[in-house]
């Protein structure tokens, strides 16, 4: 044997060929809100979600990407859409999804949020999806656990994956987000969806008009929106917000967060702030209607609008799975 008979091969310092691909710009452990994302990061998540939308249309809707990873859905608030959506997203990526509902957890025995998080951490999950009625709860958990923390709605603060799926739906229908007029109408004060959307849509260059009863508008919100190409303004009334809008997003009256007295009655609210066919005519001819759900028919939106041709409410739900797959892939994929 030549050369001493020993064949020595130092393992390569080089990446395997496929890691020569373009690198992703999302370098963060958690997804806590839209406010701290850059437009590039937002677009990157949306582009990734487009691919997962294709996966959801295959016959076998499952890829082995997150095999061996564990995703815990920790929901301290009621939810069907978001929790199911996250669970399906995790399962379609081959991750193991575990659902913990506060009503059946040790929270009812008096365990604090931090203790719950530390106990979950001890079971080494790769991602924790959390919904909590207190703003900032996911941020606190993110500080103490190693897993990726994904905010699935915290109080009236943020609901980033909802805003991302709204943007994906808008982009899919309109081909762009920049330059569009988006009316967000209803209980903006209690809406984390509205806040996340105000951040996201203005970052991507849309002009957001917020409208609703003056008691349900968080005046001053516009000052907390980072200066961007788009804008966030308060419309004087709903008709002004909807006029010439490309997108009309209706919000649910969040009675569970209200102490009462914000408006006289649901019937009166429906007449003045509900979206009906006549009011929708003020918007552009090709306007689309969105709603984060759950919808209250006959209150903020009439049935003929919710089920009408302009309504993309169910597309939003479909896109929700794709967006959550993208977020789980980007945050829980490695290490």
């Amino acid at each position: 044997m030549v050369n001493g008979g020993k064949r020595f091969c130092p393992h390569s310092p080089l990446p395997t060929p496929y890691s020569l691909f373009v690198r992703m710009p999302l370098k963060r452990k958690d997804l806590l809100g839209i406010a701290d994302l850059s437009p590039e990061e937002i677009n990157f998540i949306l582009d990734t979600a487009e691919t997962f939308r294709d996966v959801n249309q295959r016959q076998i809707k499952k890829v082995p990407t997150l095999r061996g990873k564990t995703v815990i859905n920790l929901f301290f608030e009621a939810s069907t859409r978001t929790r199911t959506s996250f669970e399906i997203a995790a399962k379609r990526l081959s991750a193991d999804a575990i659902n913990v509902a506060a009503s059946t957890s040790s929270v009812v025995k008096g365990e604090t949020l931090v203790d719950t998080a530390l106990n979950l951490q001890a079971m080494a999950p790769d991602a924790i999806v959390i919904r909590h009625s207190s703003s900032g709860a996911p941020h606190q958990i993110a500080k103490i656990v190693d897993a990726a923390v994904i905010n699935a709605g915290d109080g009236a603060h943020e609901h980033p994956t909802q805003a991302l799926l709204d943007a994906l739906t808008i982009r899919g229908a309109k081909g762009r987000v920049a330059g569009l007029k988006v009316a967000i109408v209803g209980d903006v004060l209690h809406s984390r969806v509205a806040r996340s959307n105000a951040h996201l849509l203005s970052k991507l260059g849309a002009h957001v008009a917020l409208a609703g009863p003056r008691t349900l508008l968080p005046f001053g919100l516009e000052k907390r929106i980072a200066p961007a190409e788009g804008s966030v303004t308060f419309a004087d009334n709903i008709n002004e917000a909807i006029k010439d809008a490309d997108v009309v997003m209706m919000l649910r009256i969040q009675l569970e967060r209200q102490s009462g007295g914000f408006f006289p009655s649901l019937r009166e609210y429906s007449i003045h702030y509900g979206l009906n066919r006549r009011r929708l005519e003020l918007a552009k001819d090709d306007a689309i209607v969105l709603h984060p759900g759950p919808i209250n028919r006959g209150v903020e939106i009439d049935s003929d609008v919710a089920d009408g041709p302009f309504s993309l409410i169910l597309n939003q739900v479909e896109n929700g799975v794709a967006v959550r797959m993208a977020v789980l892939y980007l945050l829980a994929g490695g290490e």
Partner: protein
């Protein structure tokens, strides 16, 4: 004085001229092709151990002469964690293929494909993203020129099926997979630019199976550079290239790069 043929012997191994394929004469010495292979082996091994550049005008060998296939060491292989996405700088070592070479090679590969697959209407050329996709399209175009049959093409993005996702530092970008609705019963020809570890092809096959049950799957690659880590081989090969593990084959296509050529480079 000129020695008769049977008396000419390799000065290194002593084999007579009749026993070896080629015997090269030097100033009062002779060397046979077998010993040259061993010499190359030593140089390549040395380069591997010390990291010194090869210093060989890198021979592009035919399969029979491909020493790498014999030299392939048992590899206690560890995937190093690839950190950082910084731009890499490369030293160009040699040009493996020019545009003209590439055209010739693709013409040969497409005629091989036609020869092996009498029923072209059932064939689907599936390019592996990124550079396999334009190559698949070119093969399809060549086949159309030759046989006036339009062979269907598709694109496969294997990112979600990679086996190293939990070791690479950052998530790679996911692109779209575009396949016709039903691939069951089809003959799929996977097309990629470089065949290296075989892991990409493993991932591609796994993904294909999720779309249906193809009749058979074949593999066409522009360059086979050796260093397989899985039992995978190509059915159609543009060119075998002997490489060290540190070297990189850069296939450049006008769709992604400014030029059209194949280079052998090494990271600076």
């Amino acid at each position: 004085m000129r020695q008769s043929d049977d008396k000419l012997r390799c000065s290194f191994c002593g084999s007579s001229k009749n026993e070896v394929k080629i015997l090269i004469a030097g100033p009062s010495v002779y060397i046979c092709n077998g010993c040259i292979d061993i010499c190359i082996e030593i140089v390549v091994d040395d380069s591997r151990q010390t990291g010194r550049p090869l210093g060989l005008a890198l021979p592009v060998l035919t399969p029979a002469e491909n020493i790498m296939s014999r030299v392939e060491p048992s590899r206690a292989h560890k995937h190093e964690k690839h950190s950082g996405g910084a731009e890499m700088e490369f030293i160009e070592k040699s040009c493996v293929m020019t545009t003209a070479d590439m055209n010739r090679v693709l013409a040969r590969m497409s005629s091989q494909i036609v020869e092996n697959n009498p029923d072209l209407s059932n064939v689907l050329l599936v390019g592996i993203r990124r550079r396999g996709v334009p190559l698949a399209e070119r093969l399809a175009a060549r086949i159309k020129e030759m046989d006036s049959v339009k062979v269907a093409t598709g694109a496969l993005d294997i990112t979600l099926y990679r086996d190293d996702l939990s070791t690479v530092g950052e998530r790679p970008v996911v692109n779209k997979t575009e396949l016709p609705a039903n691939i069951t019963g089809k003959t799929i020809i996977l097309v990629d630019d470089v065949l290296y570890t075989g892991r990409t092809i493993r991932a591609a096959m796994d993904e294909l199976i999720d779309f249906g049950r193809p009749r058979r799957v074949q593999l066409a690659v522009l360059i086979d550079r050796g260093w397989r880590e899985l039992p995978i081989q190509a059915d159609y090969i543009g060119k075998y290239v002997t490489t060290t593990e540190k070297e990189i084959i850069k296939v450049m296509l006008p769709e992604f790069d400014e030029t059209e050529q194949v280079l052998l480079v090494e990271q600076k």
